[in-house]
């Protein structure tokens, strides 16, 4: 079952490449169907298993509701090991849902080399699903690197050559070099961890469960943790490592942006929750204050830069940095409430950023520009899109009743108990987010119109996409309990791990 989750996108992608020979419609339908199958399967997995707090293992960690383990490269103790728990299933739900949207939103945008486009699109999804399921460090790294290649092609081949940026090939190369070199650091850290483990037990293994029990001296633990942390920080992106993101976003096609903001960034947060913290609990505690302040810097820096952008996609890219800053604060506060908030925020940001990027794509298809200076007064010129844009801007600024609000408020409440100053300063991010969201609406939709020519409104496909996103955001905002229940076991596992080890700083 878990293997199929990975195989479906890969096979679907391959067939939609071949299907290009038949006609331009068929690749789209094949990839749409395979994405729907994937989404259906994850939904089924979510509904049929119990992820709640009652389902905890003896040592307080969450148990895997489903697991596969087959020997792969026995020479180095590498196995094909997949497993599913509450955190993975939430990420998979997000991934497969945005996968469907990514296919739908490129329905009319992508006109050349459709088959190869869908091959790349689906392979990204497949590799990300692999990242969220892999429990063997080698396998994890395998997928971690594999998702970059199709993403690179997506940006480099179907991207826009926007006049303000560095060109799509340049942006794609920058993205690839940033993530690839940080990936190498991760590889070094993984293998070093394996060798440390081997020097203690005499067994070379890449298995997650085995490596978790490695004890090391604090200095070494800190160095290895930094390897993981920096690798994830680049993908996250945490502020000093973020500069690839605005470029990649502004040149990427809509589907690429949706995948990038909605899914790829989440793999980093997932990696921290799943690997960086459980492997190195003590070192993580040491770096936690730094990480939280980095998160605060991200929140404020992202918000400020977002305000100054003229390119609408760059603006949203910087808001991503700001929102992901909250996630980072939530993760490294090690407070169960904040951790829950971080997970909700990941989902809500995935959905709301995807919505905004899809809106940008729709605007671009109609206006052929993404420059805010050339917009203005759109609300009088086109029906449909402006109110929806208003909705997503409201979600982005954290309006109560929508998903982002729940996430941010939980993060801030949880963090406040651990570190008041971080929480206080981070709260200003909420104000700043209101500023950039409103300026986005103000500059694009209101003010004097550039011309009076009406612009066609949204068609049924586009409306359906937007409504599905909006329903989920409202649902996350009003009734997040099912998500909280699903992640509860994982969160309590991390909480146990950190806060029951001797130097427990958190006031619990």
């Amino acid at each position: 079952m878990l293997t199929w989750l990975i195989l479906i996108p890969f096979i679907g992608g391959f067939f939609s490449w071949l299907a290009e020979l038949v006609g331009s419609k068929s690749p789209r339908w094949i990839s749409l169907i395979s994405m729907f199958v994937l989404f259906g399967l994850t939904l089924k997995l979510w509904l049929e298993h119990n992820y709640s707090l009652s389902n905890l293992g003896a040592d307080g960690t969450s148990v895997w509701v489903e697991e596969i383990k087959v020997d792969w490269i026995p020479r180095f103790g590498i196995s094909f090991h997949l497993a599913l728990d509450g955190l993975s299933i939430l990420m998979l739900l997000l991934t497969s849902f945005l996968g469907v949207l990514a296919v739908v939103c490129s329905w009319s945008e992508v006109k050349k080399k459709i088959g190869f486009f869908h091959l790349n699109l689906l392979w990204i999804i497949g590799a990300v699903v692999g990242v969220f399921l892999a429990l063997d460090m080698f396998l994890f790294f395998f997928f971690w690197e594999m998702m970059l290649i199709p993403m690179y092609f997506l940006i480099a081949l179907w991207g826009h050559n926007s006049p303000t940026g560095m060109g799509r090939v340049g942006a794609a190369t920058k993205f690839f070099i940033y993530t690839q070199s940080s990936g190498l650091l991760l590889l070094l850290a993984i293998i070093a961890l394996v060798f440390v483990h081997a020097s203690q037990t005499g067994v070379i293994t890449f298995d997650y469960q085995a490596l978790r029990n490695t004890t090391m001296d604090p200095k070494l633990e800190f160095i290895l943790m930094l390897g993981f942390f920096i690798a994830f920080a680049v993908k996250f992106p945490i502020v000093p490592f973020h500069s690839w993101l605005p470029d990649a976003h502004s040149q990427a096609p809509t589907a690429g942006s949706v995948d990038l903001a909605g899914i790829l960034l989440k793999t980093a947060a997932y990696g921290m929750l799943r690997f960086a913290i459980p492997f190195f609990p003590n070192a993580s505690e040491v770096i936690a204050p730094v990480a939280m302040w980095l998160g605060v810097v991200g929140v404020i820096y992202g918000a400020f830069l977002a305000y100054g952008q003229d390119d609408i996609k760059r603006l949203i890219a910087y808001t991503s940095i700001s929102h992901m800053g909250f996630v980072l604060i939530g993760i490294y506060s090690f407070n169960p409430i904040a951790l829950q908030g971080a997970i909700i925020q990941m989902m809500a940001h995935g959905i709301s950023a995807a919505g905004l990027f899809i809106l940008c794509g729709q605007l671009y298809e109609r206006l052929k520009t993404r420059d805010l200076k050339q917009m203005g007064g759109l609300s009088s010129r086109m029906p449909g899109l402006p109110p929806i844009a208003m909705f997503f801007a409201a979600a982005s600024l954290g309006l109560p009743g929508l998903g982002n609000f729940v996430g941010e408020i939980l993060i801030l409440v949880g963090t406040f108990k651990v570190n008041e100053y971080v929480a206080l300063v981070a709260t200003t991010g909420l104000v700043l987010s209101a500023v950039y969201s409103l300026i986005l609406i103000q500059r694009s939709l209101h003010g004097p119109a550039q011309s009076d020519a009406p612009i066609p409104g949204l068609n049924l496909r586009e409306l359906l996409m937007m409504f599905s996103l909006m329903i989920i955001l409202v649902w996350l905002g009003l009734y997040p309990q099912p998500v909280l229940d699903t992640s509860a076991a994982v969160v309590s596992g991390i909480d146990q791990l950190i806060n029951s080890t001797p130097p427990a700083p958190a006031a619990q």
Binding site: I73, P74, R75, F76, K113, F141, F142, F143, E145, M146, I149, Y152, F153, A156, L157, V169, A172, T173, F176, I177, Q180, S181, L184, L185, L187, L188, I191, A192, F195
Partner: protein, 501 residues
Amino acid sequence: MTITLDNLQALLPLLITAATTVFVMLAIAIRRNHWWNATVTVVGLNIALIATVYVLFASHLFPDAVSKSLLLQTVTPLFVVDGFSLFFTALILISALGTTTLTNAYVESFKRNREEIYLLITIATAGGIVLTMAHHMASLFIGLEMMSVALYGMVAYTYDRARSLEATIKYMVLSATASAVMLFGMALIYAQFGTMAFSEIGQKMGAEPSLLVIVGGMMLIIGLFFKLSIAPFHLWTPDVYEGASAPVGAFLATAAKVSVFAVLVRFIVVEANGVLISEPFRLTLIVLACLSMLVGNILALLQDNIKRMLGYSSIAHFGYLLALVLLGGKEFGLEGFATYMAIYVVTAITAFGVVTLMSTAGADRDADRLQDFHGLFWHRPILASIFTLALFSLAGIPLTAGFIAKIYVVMAGISSGIVGWIALIFVVLGSSISIYFYLRTIISMFRTNKNLVPFDAKMDWGQRTGGIVVSITAILILVIGIVPNPLMYIAQLTKLVWAPV
């Protein structure tokens, strides 16, 4: 000294390759027919390959019929036959077979004599096999010169192109200088120890070698490093790679390097039990390895010529390999070395193979400029995918064989303390830089080209022998990348080394 039947059996790969040389010569003399001469070569090399596998596994497969001592024996003081030499012999034969098949279609349109190239390939192959089996200075030198002299001819084969001629002269002059340096080094070592066998040198070395030996050893190593184009002895590489025709480039990058590296590793790591790499000496070599990684990758950055780019990339790769051998030690290092080498051979044959398929000897240059590849993906999707795969493998991206090779380097580095960690910083730096130029080449195949395409693979490239070779190696890149177990198993055979009692 008497030579027994076992000795002869063990030496079969070399004997058959040498016999193939004679047969090819006779075949050309009897009838100058391109297809027929090429077939003789391929059949001969294939039999040699089968013989290699036979010698390697015979004592396992037919324990009764074959004497146990087939493996792990010395044949005259010059040659040694063990798992190590046979593995690399097989690798050289595979490279030679790949080169021959690629050459076949390539020289079809050549206006002059097409047949002698096969003769040169087999001579160079025999030289390479001698090198892998050498454990004596004399056989080292014989093998090296046998290979090098044939290589001059191969590089110069398309001498109508000014570049080829230039490359040959450059290669010949520098190579001869390196050989002279090496000979001098051998003489110094002989002056000290009075022996030229590797194992005896290792035994007599002791912990505190004299200055004479250090200088001699350094000179010997410099000669070998020149052939391997380890920085700072790499200056000839890009020019020769560019000047040589693409299939010859494939041979230069694979067989020529495999054999020299094998004998180097035998000399410094295997037979002398690592005595030759005393700590300061080892550190020096590691510094050179790191230098190679940097130089190769940085200079490759802005190359518009794909053959030059591959040349620089090979400099970097041999830097990684050298670091792997020196850091990994005798056990892990040998296995990693063999795996890496096999992966590199497969990848390099694929990369040069694609360039070969795009070009013909009849044209006044090869299809080796970046713009010759523009838009390749849209009219030759499979060929372009194969090239993409090869370049990703060179960059060490997962799903390709290159990733497995990189894992070995990282493992060797991590397990060997602070020196290893510092070397790994260079590996990370080098790989990060290298991504840029590999991606640059890859993305150029996806650009749409509005100009006329001067070079293109033939419509039926997939059905031609060269196309089949490239397809097979491309599939191997994928298979090794996903299921490396068989290769790892075979590579472990290289640990079966003959050691002096």
